[in-house]
């Protein structure tokens, strides 16, 4: 039952139903986690921007781009792997592995994906770097924002936005390279000959990158991304999270104040309330308030605080990757424990290994030829004037190799004297159609099977269509039936 606000005890209307987004000025910092973040930024963006230019020789008939999604040709290429449309189930496997990898990361170290690998984080980091280079670090940026508009300010602002747009544009540009031959499309784009869709996609991705990494930033993580919500349900007290070790930090106070307390032998925490951890935070979180939804686990506050601790001659690690459980253990005077191996992580790892192994097996053992057969439905069989019976089938042959190959088609399970015929095929080997299929192609044929004249066949005879490659002898089969009156 809803109680009207007036009737609610001690109730009051809040000031605002909607809040202006608070502008955040993340400060630069340096240290271990900052270095890891730079390294990952270089690796991930390097892969994204440059991968389309990696070549892979697949012979004259197939594209020689290592990673390519050929929508028109309905093929996806990934180095030595070539995916046909009917094999997109690999994508399902890939998605399962990806989801499980996220779960595993989460069980080990919370939102570590968000802090280090999420594209939103990576591009925002890059944009922040540009901003810092052009407009200065936190203090300067705050002042710069407040400063009146002068020609110099306009010039610096314009520079920043121009650089952001350049990065955004290159981001959108790299995207389309995955869907066409990279060097060709680069040339076409430059000479305005590329398909309209390429320009449209570059436009969309330029706009979204510019908007999301330049302006939305932490708002994406806090309000738009569903992952933090799922995350909260997946993490537990044994997962490593960026944690303020309040058992060591409190009571906090200025350096001077805390020193005085120490001198008097009174309890004093290590936190000197310098706010550095808060200033460097890209999402504007004060980690000392505890674990929060807004924290993306980037570890920058660890670096910031470690720098301070070093400066004041205290051990580092006032903020660090730790578990909720450990803080309580320490308060209770017990040794901290780090249980990376626990049922949760083992199960996730096992699922990853299992699905990965299944996919690898499917990938390595898959056929490079294929056959599918569709029996005529109308008529199911045809009686010939000599009393023999004929069945018609639509047979589709697949050659997944990038060179033309020949196959012999055999239908097994028919009595002796039966005849097999493929429409449009003139070459026969021992009465079996000898069929050539072009490189990386499928071929559909009408195949007619005749029962021997004068033989009464049962209403339904199981038969096997066997396709044998003529050179290597690769065999694929499929089953169907021969119908008779």
């Amino acid at each position: 039952m809803r109680v009207e606000p007036d009737a609610a005890v001690g109730s009051g209307q809040p000031d605002e139903w909607f809040a202006s987004a608070k502008k955040i000025y993340p400060m630069a910092t340096h240290g271990t986690f900052r270095r890891i973040k730079w390294a990952l930024l270089f690796i991930t963006l390097g892969i994204y921007y440059l991968l389309p230019f990696v070549r892979w020789d697949r012979g004259p008939e197939a594209p020689d781009q290592a990673v390519l999604i050929d929508l028109a040709g309905r093929r996806a290429y990934f180095f030595f792997i070539e995916i046909w449309p009917q094999e997109v189930y690999y994508l399902t496997g890939l998605l399962i592995v990806a989801a499980m990898a996220l779960f595993l990361m989460n069980a080990v170290a919370g939102r570590i994906w968000c802090g280090y690998l999420c594209p939103q984080t990576v591009w925002t980091d890059l944009f922040l770097w540009v901003e810092r280079k052009v407009e200065g670090d936190r203090r300067e940026r705050i002042a710069f924002d407040k400063a009146p508009w002068t020609a110099k300010k306009v010039a610096r602002r314009a520079t920043k936005h121009f650089l952001w747009l350049m990065i955004a544009w290159w981001t959108g540009g790299a995207w389309v390279l995955y869907f066409a031959d990279a060097p060709t499309i680069v040339y076409e784009l430059a000479t305005f000959q590329a398909p309209v869709s390429a320009y449209v996609w570059i436009g969309i991705l330029t706009a979204t990158t510019y908007l999301l990494a330049g302006f939305m930033r932490e708002q994406v993580c806090i309000y738009m991304c569903p992952w933090p919500r799922i995350q909260a349900a997946l993490t537990d007290e044994k997962a490593l999270n960026v944690t303020y070790r309040w058992d060591r930090g409190e009571p906090r106070g200025s350096l001077k104040h805390n020193r005085e307390l120490e001198a008097k032998g009174l309890p004093a925490g290590d936190c000197i309330d310098c706010n550095q951890c808060y200033f460097v935070c890209p999402t504007g979180v004060d980690i000392r308030k505890g674990m929060q939804l807004d924290c993306i686990q980037c570890g920058l506050c660890i670096d910031a605080c470690d720098n301070i601790m070093t400066k004041i001659g205290k051990p580092t690690g006032l903020i660090g990757y730790d578990t909720d459980e450990n803080i309580e253990r320490r308060v209770a005077g017990k040794e901290p424990v780090y249980e990376i191996v626990r049922p949760r992580t083992v199960i996730y790892a096992a699922i990853i290994a299992l699905v990965g192994a299944l996919m690898l097996y499917a990938l390595l053992s898959r056929d490079f030829a294929g056959i599918s057969v569709l029996h005529d439905r109308n008529p199911i069989f045809v009686t010939q004037s000599d009393g023999s019976v004929r069945n018609g089938y639509t047979v589709r042959l697949m050659n997944k190799r990038n060179h033309a190959r020949s196959f012999v088609l055999n239908v097994e399970g028919m009595p002796g004297g039966s005849r097999i015929e493929a429409v449009g095929i003139d070459q026969y080997v021992d009465g079996r159609p000898f069929i050539e299929v072009g490189p990386d192609q499928t071929r559909e044929l009408r195949v007619l099977v005749h029962s021997p004249a004068g033989t009464k066949m049962p209403p339904s005879t199981p038969v096997t269509f066997r396709l044998t490659e003529s050179v290597m002898g690769e065999v694929v089969t499929t089953k169907d039936y021969f119908k008779a009156p």
Binding site: P5, G12, P14, D15, Q384, L448
Partner: protein, 292 residues
Amino acid sequence: MTDTHNKEVDALSGVETTGHEWDGLKELNNPLPKWWLYVFYATIVWAIGYWIVYPSWPLLTTYTAGVLGNSQRADALAALEAGMAERAQIGSALVDASLDDIRSTQGMLDFAMANGRAAFGDNCAPCHGSGATGSLGYPNLQDDAWIWGGTLDDIHTTLKYGIRSGHDEARIGDMPAFGRDGLLDKDEIDQVASYVAAQAGLEPEAGVDLAAGETVYLDNCASCHGEDLKGMREVGAPDLTAANYLYGKSVAAIKAQVNAPRNGVMPAWEGRLDPATIKSLAVYVHAFGGGE
């Protein structure tokens, strides 16, 4: 309404409440950012723009067309036209090629089969059936019994000019009405029908003189159907020993046919279908498997 002096702040989270309470649960006020509200307004503006630009509102007899004049029907027609133009290109290759070449060239065969399948469904299925198995009076195109021949060329000619279609080149073979026109009397018809039935593996009528029937046959029928009853394709005389009789395989049906034969008509498709489609149909029908 706003009472800034009487704000309630939740002790645990330090967040003020909205003043809403459900069974003792108080709603915290974690305000949504304004930009999200503006995005919501923007979607409303977008919707209004959409109404103006695209067809949207149904009216009593029509609808608001939108200032762009966008029409999915026109788009579909344009796409159809583009498809037709593309088809015409491959079609012209078919017109120039021989039937045998079409059959043995993969690209052309694929096109002819697809084109033939569609054309068959539209034009031929009403008589010959969707499975091309025919019915009484309409030949089965799936089996190997051909009255006028089952080679690619035979089928093509039949398709093009038809049978008794009135076309100058049409295939014509008229069986005389032996009974109705008084060429044979009733006894002779009974005799010849039983003779043919016996030769074709049917049970002849009891008490009929088969030897007399043979004489009647040789005198009247053999010139077209042959002394061995195997028929003659030049005049469209069916093989009387075949499993399939166009108008039914029984003594009664044979009698009816000798008395007053039905001579079915197949239309000439030349002029009604384009040459590429007729060729496609010939290849398609031939590929049923009964083709010779």
